[in-house]
């Protein structure tokens, strides 16, 4: 391309932009906007600041385009993974464990099935998972 190193960016302009955005962030924080609006404003400003630092302080905008591709592509992929996993990992996070789970410190319900009697032993072909739901009520 060109002699990129010698096109020195206006570092002080970047500094003022970062300073103004930081003050704006703190300002938005103290404005007590509705939560969703505040989060959107703060995230957008933080990403702009991070982009300014990467592009100008770290010279990403002045390097060969290949380096920017190397740097940005894994971040895009990780963002896709994060967004894709958010519904499972956050929003439908189980508040209570399923009833047939044995938690540490609890009684083992598996000891109870021996009580009903020997006639229960007749169909042993069934998988053992069948036993706990029958006993789930008293637990």
């Amino acid at each position: 391309m060109s002699a990129a190193e010698h096109k020195e960016p206006k570092y002080l302009h970047v500094f003022w932009a970062l300073l103004v955005l930081t003050l704006a962030e703190v300002g938005v924080f103290y404005l007590h906007l509705p939560t969703a609006l505040m989060i959107i404003c703060l995230v957008v400003m933080a990403l702009v600041k991070a982009g300014l630092v990467a592009a100008y302080f770290m010279h990403l905008a002045l390097e060969k385009r290949t380096l920017a591709l190397i740097v940005v592509s894994p971040l895009v992929l990780s963002a896709i993974i994060i967004i894709g996993l958010t519904p499972d990992s956050v929003f439908s996070y189980p508040r209570k464990p399923p009833e047939h789970w044995v938690l540490p410190g609890e009684e083992e319900p598996a000891s109870e099935p021996s009580v009903p009697g020997p006639e229960e032993l007749a169909p042993p072909a069934q998988p053992p998972q069948q036993a706990p739901p029958a006993d789930g009520g008293p637990a």
């Binding site: 391309m1 060109s2 002699a3 990129a4 190193e5 010698h6 020195e8 570092y11 002080l12 500094f15 970062l18 300073l19 930081t22 962030e25 703190v26 938005v28 924080f29 505040m38 989060i39 703060l42 995230v43 400003m45 933080a46 600041k49 991070a50 630092v53 990467a54 302080f57 770290m58 010279h59 390097e63 060969k64 290949t66 380096l67 190397i70 740097v71 894994p74 971040l75 990780s78 994060i82 990992s89 956050v90 929003f91 996070y93």
Partner: protein
């Protein structure tokens, strides 16, 4: 022939910073990307733990001091500016300027660490702890992991400064200075995100 000439002077600032001879820089970028994944994991863990436990999550600013941390953010941004000034100085062959700006950058990083140590002491005295609450666990792990990066960065800058004091860097040889700059700016970049996600939101 042109390529061979470029290989003879891989640090020549007249060269257009091609990717291939500058392995140091691209390796630092790859390290920073893997580090970014670590921080992404920690930030996502923070978000997931927080959003799935809204009943026990405090308003962060009721515990943390936003004005002091905003000042800390400002100090770290200033130290990034002195870092770019250090790189710009040695690119012009100004070794004295390089040493001054590197020292200023170290002072900025050390000040950041000092304020963070003060903040941690205050919070621990108020009863916040890693084992005491989910908020404390995620807060200390995130800011502590970043603080370790700042500490490593100050030590790394000290190594570069001592090499500069021994006259290692010239107008033709400043690659290591630019690489330590990449690391330092990355630490600043991460703090911008941590400040927003942990302190403000």
């Amino acid at each position: 022939m042109d390529h061979a000439a470029a290989m003879e002077h891989p640090m020549d600032p007249a060269q257009p910073s091609p990717l291939s001879p500058n392995w140091g820089k691209i390796m630092m970028w790859l390290f920073l990307m893997s580090d970014a994944m670590s921080f992404a994991g920690l930030l996502c863990a923070y978000a997931a733990v927080r959003m799935s436990n809204p009943a026990v999550w405090p308003v962060p600013s009721s515990i943390l001091g936003v004005p002091l941390t905003a000042l800390n953010t400002f100090i770290l941004i200033c130290s990034s500016v002195t870092m770019v000034k250090a790189v710009a100085a040695i690119q012009k062959g100004d070794v004295v300027g390089l040493k001054r700006f590197l020292a200023a950058t170290m002072v900025g990083g050390a000040t950041f660490l000092g304020i963070q140590a003060y903040e941690w002491t205050h919070l621990i005295h108020e009863g916040l702890s890693v084992g005491g609450s989910l908020f404390g666990a995620t807060f200390f792990v995130l800011t502590g992991f970043h603080g370790c990066h700042v500490l490593s960065g100050v030590i790394y800058l000290g190594c570069i400064l001592s090499a500069a004091a021994r006259g290692r860097y010239t107008v033709h040889n400043w690659n290591s200075v630019e690489i330590v700059g990449l690391y330092w700016h990355f630490v600043d970049l991460i703090w911008i995100l941590v400040f927003t996600f942990v302190y403000l939101i």
